[in-house]
């Protein structure tokens, strides 16, 4: 009986100690960091994710373009930190990234006593990434750090702070440095949430879905034209004309995501009008062109129109006027032989 009790207690303790709550690989985090291991490795692997608050003391925030305003090469020596541990950004010149954007190169150099650089997105996620510093820079003979960052699809739009902090061989962290970046949505709204924009698109019909299938947005325009990724514009384009461009009032679908099962993982298609669409009913369909061996796909259709932004005269923003969710099964894939699943009829104001 005592043995059985001991086993039961051990089991209970083990269950308590090996719970499934904590992220350890970091694959579910909004920011995923990859590094190139020492030779002979040739491909990047996940950096080490550590759960918890980013170490280090805060430093005044750099402005959005400050790093790049110094030519992307602000020196370690003039970083202005009271401690000797320093790191800077030399590779990151982006002012914005898209939700779900991957392989964004980030890196820089550090002072000689730095062992690693910790990276995180401020107030997002459950921990930070640790990147051992790499080979010495050929010019400065200082250690370099080099990562690529994947930004999650669920990061809220707007400005975010990419934070990084140098750590020495004793585990002492220096001061936290920040780079302000704009995270933009996959719906082209003119960096809404980051930049004041007087001219976002007038209307957008946006289709998004959850699994890697070839799903197509189909819109039957009032003039009877079927707009879809394989026929993406609301008007004919003169294919023989050099540098043919769409008229300003025409609408077009921005991409054929996962087209012919060439998986890009974006899973967004937007029909965009820069000016107000013509009057009349637009019939919205969603067509499963190819299930790409997936059993089911869940999708969302949202229709946006431009409206005056609150509190700021003259500025506009995209607002949702209609949204619907749906589901399609693999046997409904038709290879484009039929019109897709009817969603709704929309008349733009």
């Amino acid at each position: 009986m005592k043995v059985a009790l001991a086993i039961a207690v051990s089991l209970g303790l083990s269950l308590a100690c090996t719970g499934n709550e904590e992220s350890r690989t970091g694959v579910g985090e909004p920011l995923i960091v990859k590094v190139l291991p020492p030779p002979p490795a040739k491909s990047r692997v996940l950096a080490q994710f550590i759960k918890g608050k980013l170490p280090g003391s805060p430093l005044p925030l750099l402005d959005a373009g400050q790093a790049s305003s110094t030519g992307g090469s602000s020196s370690v020596a003039d970083a202005g930190t009271p401690k000797t541990l320093q790191a800077n950004l030399t590779q990151f010149s982006e002012r914005y990234v898209l939700q779900g954007q991957a392989n964004v190169p980030i890196g820089g150099i550090t002072s000689k006593d730095v062992f690693s650089v910790a990276v995180a997105l401020e107030n997002l996620g459950t921990g930070y990434w640790v990147v051992p510093v790499g080979p010495l820079d050929g010019n400065t003979l200082l250690p370099t750090w080099d990562i690529t960052a994947d930004f999650g699809r669920d990061i809220p739009q707007g400005y975010r702070n990419l934070q990084y902090v140098p750590i020495d061989g004793s585990g002492n962290a220096g001061q936290i440095q920040s780079q302000k970046i704009c995270v933009a949505g996959r719906v082209p709204n003119g960096f809404q949430g980051c930049l004041p924009n007087p001219n976002p698109p007038a209307a957008v019909i946006s289709l998004s879905w959850d699994t890697n299938v070839d799903l197509d947005l189909q819109v039957l325009a009032p003039d009877g034209r079927l707009i879809e990724p394989k026929n993406p514009a609301t008007v004919d384009i003169d294919a023989s004309a050099l540098n043919a461009t769409l008229p300003a009032d025409a609408g077009r679908i921005d991409r054929d995501s996962n087209g012919y099962c060439s998986i890009d993982g974006i899973r967004f298609e937007n029909l965009i009008w820069q000016t107000v669409p013509p009057k009349g009913p637009f019939l919205i369909y969603v067509n499963l062109f190819d299930a790409c061996k997936q059993p089911v796909v869940h999708f969302n259709v949202t229709v946006y129109t431009a409206a005056p932004a609150p509190g700021d005269a003259g500025l506009k923003e995209l607002r949702s006027m209609y949204s619907a969710d749906g589901i399609l099964l693999d046997f409904q894939a038709n290879g484009g032989s039929n019109r897709g699943f009817f969603v709704n009829e929309i008349v733009f104001p």
């Binding site: 089991l11 499934n20 350890r24 990147v131 510093v133 750590i167």
Partner: protein
């Protein structure tokens, strides 16, 4: 992440005493008249049980480890009778039993021609017995002497590093689960100078799977009349467990620990390979020599059981087993393995264009288009690899039960095929040296319980370099496990085991970026029932 590989390395193992039971079971099979279908069923059943419970009763092959700890109070090593002496039915099988037979085993049948080992064909004519009788005889003749055995291991396991996420590519990161670890069914048959064995394995380790685990065709000469002694010479071709060391040929059915040591699983992801083996035993001396493809089952290269190069791996195992006292056994082996690994070349490619969205605007600009010129194929090449190991086992029986202390050490070069894959060609020709060892102790506590402990160590690359403040410094990658185990036993029939694996490794990094322990402990609760 590399830490995941460890557990994936836990996966497929196989029974290694198949060759043992193929020779041992008939000790229990009483000779029966071939025409007695009812008796035939009884023979099969008896043989089946014997195959399960007396794996090394009569003639263990030289490649099988001696003294594998059994928890049965009716340990066939000490209690199983040699049924050849018990047979009393004056049947046709007796004729075979009277044939020269060094093993002392009764043979199931002898053909009309008198050739030992041939199953007598049923005689059926138009005027003979009805079809049903004929079919019965046919079925009887086909099944006579065959032994069906097996065991099933179902378990729940919990991993400290599980996550409710998918790895890139879709592999599951959650490993807290129920699974059928092994469901093995074995069919075997012996003749005077030949033996046949096939074994299948079903499991749910990577989803439902059912596959060959063993397929051995053997010629046997010089069967011993003593139990636990392999024949003088046994030549086997087919798919068998590589005769290297102790762990690799220890059956999961009898191994108290859930899996082999981490080093063993890295060097040999699974036990079976395809080839030919010559093995035998003379008094206390035993030997085994094998030529195999060198690509064991479950190898990470995807070439498992195939052979990408002309070279065949050579394995030589020399050892001795001694029983100076009835309740004390000591054994040991030295094993050597050498072969050539394969570095695959690459295909030629066509010219292509790629786009790098430098400004991330989602639109193609001229300066973002990159031409990728066609590239030539690169040739494949071989590299040398070897391993040398030594193992030792000591067991004794006391009033408490059987105790067993055993261990093994392996030094190897370019042999890792399951965890940190060795490919010296890919790193400019620098050889990769490995060291692996383990020490284990198992104690029976009455016939109904057991307890034990094992510690194992693996260093996948003795010359590993890691970045530290911009410099490359020698760094250890060693992995060590501490594995206490307790279990309840229903003798000869079932076991309930609980093992806790506490792992010390350097697979993670601390905040300084210095290699540090990655939390990777696990525990397993397993129920095993023998067929």
């Amino acid at each position: 992440m590399t830490n995941k590989t460890i557990h994936s390395g836990l996966l497929h193992c196989c029974s290694t005493l198949a060759a043992v039971s193929i020779l041992s079971v008939t000790a229990h099979a009483a000779p029966v008249a071939p025409n007695d279908s009812k008796s035939d069923v009884e023979v099969s059943a008896a043989a089946s049980d014997a195959a399960n419970e007396a794996p090394s009763t009569v003639t263990a092959p030289a490649s099988a480890p001696p003294g594998a700890l059994r928890t049965s109070p009716n340990d066939p090593n000490t209690a199983a009778p040699n049924s050849a002496n018990n047979s009393s039915s004056p049947t046709a099988a007796d004729a075979s039993a009277s044939l020269p037979n060094n093993s002392g085993m009764p043979q199931p049948a002898v053909s009309a021609s008198g050739v030992p080992g041939a199953t007598p064909a049923p005689v059926a004519t138009a005027n003979s017995a009805p079809a049903s009788t004929s079919e019965s005889k046919l079925a009887q003749s086909l099944t006579e002497g065959y032994r069906v055995s097996g065991y099933f291991q179902a378990q729940y396991e919990s991993h400290q590093d599980s996550e409710d996420q998918l790895r890139q590519g879709g592999a599951l990161l959650n490993q807290n689960r129920f699974l059928l670890r092994r469901g093995r069914v074995r069919i075997a048959k012996d003749w005077d100078y030949a033996a046949l064995l096939v074994e299948f394995d079903g499991n749910t380790v990577r989803g439902p799977a059912f596959r060959w685990q063993k397929a051995e065709a053997s010629l046997v000469y010089g069967r011993s009349k003593e139990k636990d002694v392999a024949p003088l010479v046994q030549f086997t071709m087919g798919m068998f467990d590589l005769p290297f060391g102790y762990e690799l040929v220890e059956s999961p059915k009898f191994r108290p620990f859930m899996e082999r040591s981490v080093g063993g699983r890295a060097l040999w992801p699974s036990e079976p390979d395809v080839g030919a083996r010559l093995s035998g035993q003379m008094n206390f001396f035993r030997y085994a020599v094998s030529l195999t493809n060198g690509e064991p089952l479950d190898e990470k290269s995807g070439l498992g059981l195939q052979d990408p190069n002309n070279n065949k791996d050579v394995t030589v195992r020399l050892g001795a087993v001694a029983k100076p006292w009835p309740k004390f056994m000591a054994a040991g082996d030295i094993t050597y393995n050498a072969g050539k690994g394969f570095h695959p070349g690459t295909d030629a490619t066509k010219s292509s264009t790629s786009w790098q969205d430098l400004n991330h605007d989602g639109a193609v600009q001229a300066n973002e288009l990159i031409g990728n010129p066609a590239s030539a194929a690169t040739p494949s090449s071989n590299f040398s690899r070897w391993a040398i190991g030594a193992d030792a086992q000591v067991s004794m029986e006391s009033w408490l039960g059987k105790s067993m202390l055993y261990g093994e050490i392996v030094v190897a070069q370019n042999m890792d095929r399951g965890l940190f894959i060795s490919d010296p060609i890919a790193i400019g020709g620098q050889n990769i040296r490995q060291l692996s060892y383990y020490v284990a102790f198992i104690q029976e506590i009455t016939p109904y319980a057991l307890a034990g402990f094992r510690t194992d160590f693996y260093n996948p690359n003795a010359d590993f370099l890691d970045q530290r403040a911009g410099l490359l410094l020698p760094t250890s990658q060693e992995i060590r496990n501490y594995s206490p185990i307790v279990g309840l036993v229903l003798p000869d029939r079932a076991k309930m085991l609980f093992e806790w694996d506490i792992q010390s490794n350097l697979l993670g990094r601390d905040s300084r970026g210095v290699p540090a322990r990655y939390p990777n402990n696990m525990w397993t609760l397993r129920l095993q029932v023998n067929l």
